[in-house]
């Protein structure tokens, strides 16, 4: 059954785990992308690249105010208009005001997590403005009226049959199992939208301060379309997207391409600095850049600045054993899922209670940290978040009580010794002469619902150690 992103956490996870089609699709896609990343990184000096990416991003975030001012100055000098939005509402209002001023009735968008973050599509629709997603995967989920499930591969959860049925229903095309045919349908449909739209909206992969340039990384060409064909082009950039120089942008472009899909570079890198110049046949009459905060300063204020280093490559998603099982929708109504999403979704949210399960949706295995090109210590950030949540009273009472009991038992040598002996006796009884325990009594039965509990060894470690100490003391030597 498909995952309902608005359902409670446990429901979402259960829905994901009991959907065989989703799990098959996730398996294939994450395995494929993870393997491609490994191959691409083997071709180059990966440690050196990661160090460089880390440095470039750290420098940018550490110098964020100055770089943002420089970016603004240069964008304006290039003929762009720059708008600052403290939150999602201000960003939406800015876009709506621009659309209203120019009587925009149709908007085309290239793939943009940030536009979903601010709920732009809904706001535009409410104002009677038609919005069309042009990234092939986003176009498909828009037709299906679903949110995307992966930062890079929005329809990772759909099979060809699903997409064919969807096109048949919504576009009146005949059923097919040929991806090229589906693609051609999308191309033609979207082509008309591109040519008629009055406004193009994109996100921003990198914003170069030194030259006032907005960089868009795409494989399909829709980034080019939205930034070139409409009279008005609006780029929405999270404030953390700024980088110092073109050299930095070229480095991050290559790092993101290799990490995300194993490509040396994406097919298109659109670097827009300003509107159409006199004498040029095409290009927007107006170019606007919206610099969006919406919780990013809060992330800095709360000490999670490392999370702002992210270049949105999605490598952590493909490495994460949790993501690979439950997919993106299980993380809830957020465009940011997977390990990085588990950190920034709760942080960007106004309400600390919202998405509070996400930092716990991890085994802390560290696979994400191993693949992150910016070397973000995601497990540490997850632990810090958990710690904050627990101290804020967010963990279940039973769990807190159990942990307090555990702390008490392990804090004193004698108490610990008795606890171990009692436990071992208890466990041997439960094992009933067998090799393992199939069912522990409540509340521990949740552990044995899905797995057996091992039988204790004939002697405890403490007993072995004590015996060993006595033997060596008896022989008058410290070591054997």
């Amino acid at each position: 059954m498909p995952v309902d992103v608005r359902a409670p956490y446990r429901t979402r996870v259960r829905q994901a785990l009991t959907d065989p089609a989703l799990r098959t699709a996730l398996d294939r896609a994450t395995e494929h992308l993870a393997a491609r990343r490994v191959r691409a990184m083997r071709e180059i000096d990966e440690p050196r690249l990661r160090d460089a990416v880390r440095s470039v991003r750290e420098y940018a975030v550490a110098n964020l105010p100055q770089l943002l001012e420089e970016l603004e100055r240069n964008l304006i000098a290039n003929g762009c208009q720059v708008h600052w939005a403290r939150d999602a509402a201000e960003a939406r209002e800015t876009v709506l005001a621009l659309a209203h001023r120019q009587q925009v009735r149709r908007v085309v968008k290239s793939k943009s997590m940030v536009s979903e973050e601010i709920g732009l599509n809904e706001a535009l629709a409410e104002a009677g403005i038609r919005v069309v997603e042009t990234d092939l995967g986003e176009f498909i989920v828009q037709l299906a009226d679903e949110p995307p499930s992966h930062i890079l591969a929005p329809v990772i959860h759909k099979r060809i049959e699903d997409i064919s049925a969807l096109f048949e229903q919504k576009l009146g095309t005949r059923p097919t199992d040929d991806p090229a045919e589906l693609c051609a349908t999308a191309r033609q449909t979207l082509r008309n939208e591109f040519l008629d739209a009055e406004m193009g909206v994109s996100g921003c992969n990198f914003a170069i301060a030194e030259t006032g340039t907005i960089c868009l990384v795409t494989n399909e060409g829709n980034g080019r379309m939205v930034s070139s064909l409409s009279p008005i082009y609006v780029a929405i950039a999270g404030i953390e997207k700024v980088v110092r120089s073109p050299e930095d942008a070229l480095l991050l472009w290559q790092a993101a391409s290799r990490s995300a899909t194993g490509q040396a570079v994406s097919v298109y890198m659109t670097m827009s600095s300003g509107p159409r110049r006199p004498g040029q046949a095409d290009g927007p009459e107006e170019m606007h850049v919206i610099l969006l905060d919406n919780g990013r300063t809060r992330i800095l204020e709360r000490g999670y600045e490392e999370a702002l280093l992210c270049i949105r490559c999605g490598a952590c998603l493909n490495a994460c054993p949790v993501y690979r099982e439950i997919g993106g929708h299980a993380y809830g109504d957020t465009p940011y899922n997977g390990p990085i999403g588990a950190v920034i979704t709760p942080l960007l949210a106004d309400d600390p209670k919202r998405a509070r399960e996400l930092p716990f949706a991890s085994s802390l295995c560290g696979a994400c940290r191993e693949v992150c090109p910016a070397k973000i210590d995601l497990p540490k950030l997850l632990l810090d978040l958990r710690s904050e949540l627990v101290r804020g009273g967010s963990s279940p009472r039973m769990e807190s009580a159990a942990l307090r009991a555990y702390a008490a038992a392990t804090g004193h040598d004698r108490v610990y010794g008795w606890a171990i002996r009692a436990f071992r006796l208890f466990a041997r009884i439960l094992a009933r002469g067998g090799e393992s325990i199939a069912r522990l009594p409540p509340p521990f039965n949740i552990w044995t619902r899905d797995r057996d509990f091992p039988k204790p060894a004939p002697r405890s470690f403490r007993e072995i150690w004590r015996h060993r100490e006595e033997r060596t003391a008896g022989r008058g030597r410290r070591h054997e």
Binding site: H32, A62, R86, E220, R224, V265, V267, M271
Partner: protein, 251 residues
């Protein structure tokens, strides 16, 4: 929106200044290039070959001609082949029609007489003046073949760079199904970093990056793997990209 601006910048300065932000403020060291192209492989001949190989790996194609005079002939051949193929697909008859192509202006193409030579071969170059009218846009979008030069080519990634400019429309490399690129061998650089370093050293980076309004790197045909990870070409941009590389003996 100055309130928003002051607010955001103020909060950032406070947050970064208040505690020892655990980030490194220093200028970032970076590798000379992500992709290493060794000394022995940086001559024009090697770079041309590598560019071609890279492009092929991306599902593009290329050919190398020795002399600039051959470019027009090869370009005409490629255009008529594509045109005939498209006719066959559309109408099933493969009848030779005089192709019309979406193109940069002749004075922006190299070698300099490419435009006139193509016209003499019966190929019409459609050069957009403006895209303001819907009819114009639809007409331009109906042209299946695009012809452009390139500002630079990158051997290690199979990329070409095109900067917007008068007579150098963006749509010529974006709207058509087939994109024909004329590349001068002297414009092929080993890596992206090499290309930009030359600009920076010459103090040209501001002019070349900012002034055009938009510059674009294109590496092969438009792609998507969104549908069950199957690679499909020509999603929004061209499905076919072909480079004719000629030796202009400038370096």
């Amino acid at each position: 929106m100055s309130d928003g601006r002051a607010d955001i910048l103020g909060r950032l300065r406070l947050a970064l200044g208040a505690r020892e932000a655990r980030l490194d403020r220093r200028e970032a060291p970076r590798p000379a290039a992500v992709i290493d192209v060794p000394e022995g492989r940086r001559d024009p001949h090697a770079l041309t070959a590598r560019f071609g190989e890279s492009l092929v790996a991306l599902s593009g194609s290329y050919e190398v001609v020795r002399h600039a005079d051959e470019v027009a002939e090869r370009a005409a051949e490629r255009i008529t082949t594509w045109s005939a193929h498209d006719s066959r697909e559309d109408d099933g008859d493969g009848r030779r029609r005089d192709p019309e192509i979406l193109s940069w202006a002749p004075d922006q193409l190299t070698p300099p007489d490419l435009g006139p030579q193509l016209e003499r071969a019966g190929i019409t170059l459609v050069v957009p003046e403006e895209l303001g009218h819907r009819d114009t846009r639809l007409r331009l979008a109906s042209l299946r073949i695009g012809l452009t030069g390139v500002d630079a080519a990158i051997a290690s990634t199979g990329s070409v760079l095109m900067a917007a400019g008068p007579g150098r429309s963006r749509v010529a490399s974006l709207l058509p199904t087939h994109h024909l690129m004329i590349v001068a061998a002297s414009h092929v650089y080993p890596t992206l970093e090499d290309w930009f370093q030359e600009l920076r050293r010459g103090g040209l980076h501001a002019q070349r990056l900012r002034q055009p309004g938009q510059i674009i790197f294109v590496s092969g045909p438009s792609k998507s793997a969104d549908i069950e990870l199957n690679l499909t070409l020509g999603v929004h941009g061209p499905r076919t990209t072909h480079a004719i590389i000629y030796d202009d003996a400038e370096r």
